[in-house]
Each structure stands twice: as structure tokens, then as C-alpha cells.
Symmetry: C2
């Protein structure tokens, strides 16, 4: 059975609650409890859980250890994936220094750039490597995931290079859509767009409120 | 006229192309060119542009300077917003060190934490400030935007505190949905969920391909 992507998106939250319950000494959890903790519909939660193949015990619920194990396995977080970063600018450096990805199985193992001024310099625990050496590195270390943090203008060229080197999954932080063959998966995280949405919604909210206040004054 | 959020989401990409064209010495741009550069439907691009209120010149297109000015203004990126970060852990530190937000009008001015071991330490250009002082800080500096980078378990308490201090916009990087009053805007960026989706899609793609290869062998 193929688990729907919206379910996959909820799994990290389930995992968090399951681990909290486990740390609190619990062995079983009900779909209702999970639904309440996450403010989700219990029917949805039951469907999501049943997609893992686990069976609950009546009046007891689901075995927490078993459910954690299944979800971690479905997410592929039980196998750490080595990944590299291309682009040692401000964002690439921030991501290279961030060590939180390992908790969900993503281990950054190298940081590449094309700028001779950056190559050889240290960023966090990495020495910036020359982009010319990326093909050999990917082949030798059998890397399948890359994080792109180059400027928009270079994003497609870097994606083409990575695909040519055999990369299968790209996490694209560059502010540009990239095109890849159907055998490659791309996930986009665009901080500029997220902030644009926050910024515009906030502006509207403030305008609304100011409008409401002037209306009050007219009364 | 209220500009639809999907249009707002495309504006940062339009801006990027417009600035490139301007740097290349151009004064006018057509909707068709924009659409081609971004691989969008030209009709969509025309609708998006007309939502800014700009009028194009027949056979010449839209004045690039004017369009940049309007989009920047709509996004609110002509006014830099001061923002603070709550949570000086690994992710908060990475974001505090990242200086790319200023390009779109978000200026991080302070970094707070509740951990006495972190308070007073330096992270990038910030000294970590005690969370107890956040109310006075927000009032004095008239901050309206906060970035939350605390663990999931503390996210709601921090959001409540921020709302109580008068924060109006929250960019939530904590892996948890937070509840706020209707006068407050929340934008969520969840790196764990993004990576979960990448990870699962990649696993499926690899399984598909391996399946296809074994089928080949059977022929």
C-alpha cells in the first residue's frame, strides 16, 4: 500500500508525540489521544495509523514502540542518508552549521562551492570543497541526496551537474524552481516566499485592525 | 483590491527576474518574457501583474522600475521589519547567523533564550538575551515580528508569551502547530516535514526503478 503524502506529512508530528509519551513511561497510546495532542480529526489519525499496518488492541490502543518503529521505517529515518550541500554562501553556511537534521536521518557530510575564495575555508565542521571534485566525491561516498543553497541564477546548472553525478534527491533552498528528470525527486523550501506571505498577511491584518479602529471613532 | 496569496507567492520570483533584467540594462519587460523565464502561464503572469495596478505599454511591456517598486511595496519589503528570534538552539543559531533575510526586509535584531547556560553567550553578532527581558525589549523597540525556534514542547508557551507582549506576526520553525488569536498571523516552516516528504518520495522512486530493473531482467 502506498501511504498518501498528506499522511507522510503528519508522521513527524506523530513521532514527536509518541516519543514524548514513551519518555513519560507509557507503553500504549490511543488514536484519540494522538488526535487531541495534535488537534487533528480522530478518524484521520486512525486512517493514518492503519496505513502503517499496525493493529491496535481494543481499549488499550497502539503499542508505542511498535508504532515509532514503523513510522521511522516508513520515513526512512532509520537509515541515515549522507547528503552534501552545494553553495557555501550565507544560507549554505547556516545549514552546514545546523546539526538538527541528524535527528531525522539526514547527515550532511560535505560542503561544496565554486568560489576559489571560499574553497579551503572552514565553515562549522566542514572545509569547503571545490565543485570540480564533486563527481568523484559522490561516486566514492555513494551520496544520493544534495541540498542546493546557491543563488537562483546558478540553481539549474547545479541541479544539472548533480543529476549528472547520480544524485537522486534534491532539497532545493535556492529561490528558483529547477527542472530534473522524472527519476529524481525535488523538495523545495523557499524562505523568501514564506516570508513574503507572512509579510503581506501581517500588513493586511494591521490594516484591517486600523480600519476597524477608525470605524469605532466614527461611531 | 486584495491580491490573492498565490500571486503573492509568485512575486518574489518576479522580483528576481525583474532585477536581473534591470541589471542587464533593460527598461521594459513583457509578461511573455516573465512567463518564459519562470515557466509560468503567460495569462497567469498578466493577471498577477495587473493586480499590482500597473499598466503596460503596447508592444513595449511593463516599466521594470515601476513594477519592481510596486511589488516591493506590496510585499512590504520597502520597510525593513525588525524581528527577534526566540530559541538559541541549533536552528535558532543558524538563523541568527544567516544574513540573507535583510534582502527582503526582515532584520533580526535580537536572540532570546530561557537557558541560563546560553544567556550572555555570543552567537554570530548577537548576545543571547534572557527571555524575562523580552516584554520590555518588544515594547521599547516596537517589534511586531518574532521567529520561533524552540523545541516543539515549548512552542505554544512561547507563542502565548509573544502574543501577550504584542507580537503580531510569528514565523514558526518549531515542529508544532501553534494557536494564536485571530489578530496574529503565523507562517510555518517545518524542515522535518519537508525532509520527510523528500525522503519518502525518494525511497519510492528508488523502489520503482529497482522494480523496473528486475522486470527487465525477467524479459
Amino acid at each position: 500500500m502506498t501511504i498518501p503524502i498528506p499522511t507522510v506529512k503528519r508522521f513527524p508530528s506523530y513521532l514527536r508525540i509518541l516519543k514524548q509519551a514513551k519518555d513519560g513511561g507509557k507503553k500504549y497510546i490511543s488514536a484519540t489521544t494522538l488526535a487531541e495532542e495534535l488537534d487533528l480529526n480522530p478518524i484521520q489519525v486512525r486512517k493514518d495509523i492503519s496505513s502503517t499496518g499496525i493493529e491496535g488492541k481494543p481499549k488499550v490502543g497502539f503499542c508505542i514502540d511498535e508504532l515509532i518503529h514503523l513510522i521511522v521505517h516508513i520515513l526512512g529515518w532509520d537509515n541515515t542518508s549522507d547528503a552534501l550541500i552545494v553553495g557555501a554562501g550565507s544560507l549554505g553556511s547556516a545549514i552546514a552549521r545546523y546539526d538538527g537534521f541528524e535527528a531525522y536521518g539526514l547527515k550532511i557530510v560535505a560542503l561544496f562551492d565554486k568560489d576559489p575564495a571560499k574553497i579551503g575555508s572552514r565553515i562549522g565542521r566542514f572545509e569547503v570543497l571545490p565543485i570540480d571534485s564533486i563527481n568523484a566525491f559522490i561516486a566514492e561516498k555513494r551520496i544520493s541526496i544534495a541540498v542546493i543553497t546557491v543563488p537562483a541564477v546558478s540553481a539549474q546548472a547545479v541541479a544539472d551537474l548533480l543529476v549528472g553525478c547520480g544524485i537522486r534527491g534534491i532539497w532545493n533552498f535556492a529561490p528558483k524552481d529547477i527542472k530534473v528528470p522524472p527519476s529524481v525527486v525535488v523538495q523545495r523550501t523557499d524562505l523568501a516566499t514564506s516570508f513574503a506571505v507572512l509579510s503581506v498577511k501581517l500588513g493586511r491584518k494591521i490594516a484591517e485592525q486600523e480600519g476597524a479602529e477608525s470605524d469605532d471613532e466614527l461611531v
